[in-house]
Symmetry: C2
Subunit: 340 residues, 2 copies
C-alpha cells in the first residue's frame, strides 16, 4: 500500500465548459478508517454527467462539491483495511468515494461484489447507478408498451444503452440517437436497436420522420438542446418524455428556451423528471433482474476505460462533449480479477 | 316555436385574434329530428377557451369546425320535440349542440337536468365540463396534499374557481392569479382562496414569493404566457404542473419559447396535459360529489351571462382576452325555471 493518497480536488467552480484548470491533482495523507469504516483501494472510478451539476453553485437535490474538496464520484475497489467485522481485506466492494486512490468510508454504504457474477467495473455502469436509472425511469415514467416507438438520446451511453435494450424487451420499436457513425453502428449491430441516428450528420427531424413512421411515444431525454427540439414536436398523443438529463446544456451559462408547452395539453403529454438517488431501495431488485441477462449476453454494454486518476479531469471534460464511447470509467489501480 | 333557426357559422379561420368578421350570423331552416333524435330549444350556450383550437387548422384531438359550419358548443335547453321515447317535450337537457337556437341531436347524448337540483346553466359550468375538468385534473395529475401550496391561474374562471375550492377542501394553501382587482377580491372573499394576485398590476414573481413562502407544489396552468414564466421557476421539488390550457397564447401566430426543462430533472417535476373529453365516464361521479356541495353553498361559482346569440362572437373574442368575469354563458332563449 502506498502511504500517500492521490486526489483530484475542485479548484474553482467552472463558468461554462470546465477546463483542466478547474481541477487540481494533489497528494494527501492516506486516510485512516475509524471504527465501523473500511479503507477502500480504488480500482475503478465512475465519471457521470450529473457531476457537472455538483460543481456548479445551483440549488439542487444534493450538496455541491465545495471548492477545495475532493471531487465526488462512486468507486469500485478492494478492501485494503477493515474496521468493520462485515468486511475482510481483499474483498471487492462498490461504494468507495471520490476522485482519489483511497477512501475511508462507512461499511454501511458498501455493497460486496462477486467477480464471478460480472466484471467489477459493471457495478458502476450496466449493473450500477446508470442501469438502475434506466430501469426506474422506464418503470415509473416511460412505461413503454408493446408496439410503441421509443427514442433514446445518448443511446450508446451508460444509461441510454440499457434504456433501449429494456425497451426492446418490452416489445417496442427502439430508435437511438448518438453522436457519430461508430456509435450508431454499434447501437444497431450490438445493442439491437431498430435504428440509430447520428445527430451530427443528418437533419434530425427528417431522419426521425423516416425511422419513426408512427411517431414517438416515449422519448428518453439525456441531452436536451437540438435533439430535444427535434424530438418534442414529434411526440404522439399521450407521449411520455422521461427527463433524465440534458447534458448538452450543462455547460450553458444562460438557459436556452425550451419547447412551447401548448401541445402538452392538446396531446396529453407527460414530461417528468426523476433522480435515481430517490430510488436506491430498488437497486437490489434491478441487479437481480439485470445480472442474469448480463451473464447470458442478453444485456450488452460497452465501457470506455481511461487509465489513471490524473486523466480524470480531461475525461470528464470530454464526457460533457460526448467524446466517450460507452460507460466512462477511470482505472485507478490494479484489477486483480482481470489479470490474465 | 319559430320556424327559422338562427345560427353562428365559422366564416373563415382567424389568424391571430379572432374578429367579428370571422363569424357569420345567419338564419337556417328549423332542423327536423330523425327517429331517436330530439329537437332541443337552446336556453344557454357555453363559451369556452378550447373553441379557439377548434377554429384553427392545427392537428388536434378533435375534428376542427369546418369553414361554413355552425360553431361548436354545448347547450342546455328544453325538449321542443322528441322522437325518442326516453324524452318528453318540456324536459330540460344538457347536450344541445352549437351556436344556434335549435339543434336536432341524438337522444343518446343527452343528460336530463332537474331544475330543483341546480340552476340549468350550472350544467355548463360548475356542474358541467369545466367542473369535471377541475376534478379529474386534480385527481389524476395535481394530487394536492394537505399542507401543500396550489397556484391556480384564471382563478375566477369556470375551471379555476373549482380547482381552487377543491384544493382548499384537500387542506392546501390556495393562491389564485386573476386579471383585475374585482376578480381577485371575489376569489378571496367569496371563493375563500388564501390569496389572489392580479397579474396586471404586480410584479408577479415578487407577489408569488410573498404569498407562497413555501414555494409552489401544484400549478394549475390555464393561461401560459407571462404567468407561466413567473410560476415555473418557483415550483418546488416534486412539483406538478397540470396543463389544462394556455389561453393567453391561443391567438399567437408563432409559438413562444417555453421554459427550459433542465429543472424538471433536478426538481423531479411532472408536467402533464389532459383533455376532459377523455374522462366523460367520470361525469356522473363528479356531479354526485359536486351537486350537494353546490346546494349547501360550500361550492361557489359565478356566471357571466351574455344575452342573445348574436352577441356570442363578441363574447367569445372577449373570453380570449379575459374580459368575462365567471363562467361565460350566452342566453339563447327564455329560461322558464328562472321566471319569477
Amino acid at each position: 500500500m502506498e502511504n500517500r493518497n492521490r486526489q483530484v480536488l475542485l479548484k474553482r467552480r467552472p463558468t461554462g465548459a470546465p477546463t483542466p484548470a478547474d481541477f487540481e491533482v494533489t497528494d494527501a495523507p492516506l486516510p485512516d478508517p475509524a471504527e465501523g469504516e473500511v479503507l477502500v483501494r480504488g480500482i475503478y472510478l465512475s465519471l457521470d454527467p450529473y457531476m457537472r451539476g455538483r460543481i456548479s453553485g445551483v440549488r439542487s437535490y444534493a450538496q455541491p462539491v465545495e471548492v477545495g474538496a475532493v471531487m465526488e464520484g462512486r468507486v469500485v475497489g478492494e478492501v485494503a483495511r477493515s474496521r468493520d467485522p462485515a468486511f475482510r481485506e481483499g474483498e471487492y466492494v462498490l461504494g468507495g468515494y471520490g476522485w482519489q486512490l483511497y477512501s475511508a468510508v462507512s461499511a454501511k454504504g458498501l455493497l460486496k461484489l462477486d467477480p464471478a457474477e460480472a466484471p467489477l467495473s459493471a457495478a458502476l455502469g450496466v449493473l450500477g447507478m446508470p442501469g438502475l436509472t434506466a430501469y426506474v425511469g422506464l418503470d415509473e415514467i416511460g412505461k413503454p408498451r408493446r408496439g410503441e416507438t421509443v427514442v433514446v438520446s445518448a443511446a450508446s451511453g451508460a444509461v441510454g444503452a440499457v434504456v433501449g435494450q429494456l425497451s426492446r424487451r418490452a416489445g417496442t420499436r427502439v430508435v437511438g440517437i448518438a453522436g457519430g457513425s461508430d456509435k450508431c453502428r454499434w447501437v444497431e449491430a450490438e445493442l439491437g436497436f431498430d435504428a440509430c441516428i447520428d445527430h451530427r450528420s443528418a437533419d434530425l427531424g427528417i431522419a426521425l420522420d423516416r425511422v419513426c413512421p408512427k411517431g414517438i411515444d416515449v422519448y428518453w431525454e439525456n441531452v436536451g438542446g437540438a435533439v430535444q427540439q427535434a424530438v418534442f414536436p414529434r411526440l404522439n398523443d399521450f407521449g411520455r418524455m422521461v427527463m433524465c438529463g440534458m447534458v448538452a446544456e450543462y455547460n450553458d451559462v444562460e438557459p436556452r428556451p425550451g419547447p412551447n408547452l401548448t401541445s402538452a395539453v392538446r396531446k396529453r403529454l407527460k414530461i417528468q423528471g426523476f433522480i435515481v438517488s430517490d430510488q436506491w431501495q430498488r437497486f437490489g431488485e434491478y441487479r437481480a433482474m439485470a445480472a442474469p441477462l448480463l451473464k447470458s449476453g442478453e444485456l450488452k454494454y460497452r465501457e470506455d476505460i481511461v487509465d489513471g486518476l490524473d486523466r480524470a479531469p480531461e475525461a470528464f471534460i470530454g464526457l460533457l462533449q460526448g467524446r466517450n464511447f460507452g460507460k466512462l470509467v477511470v482505472k485507478l489501480g490494479d484489477d486483480p480479477t482481470r489479470r490474465v
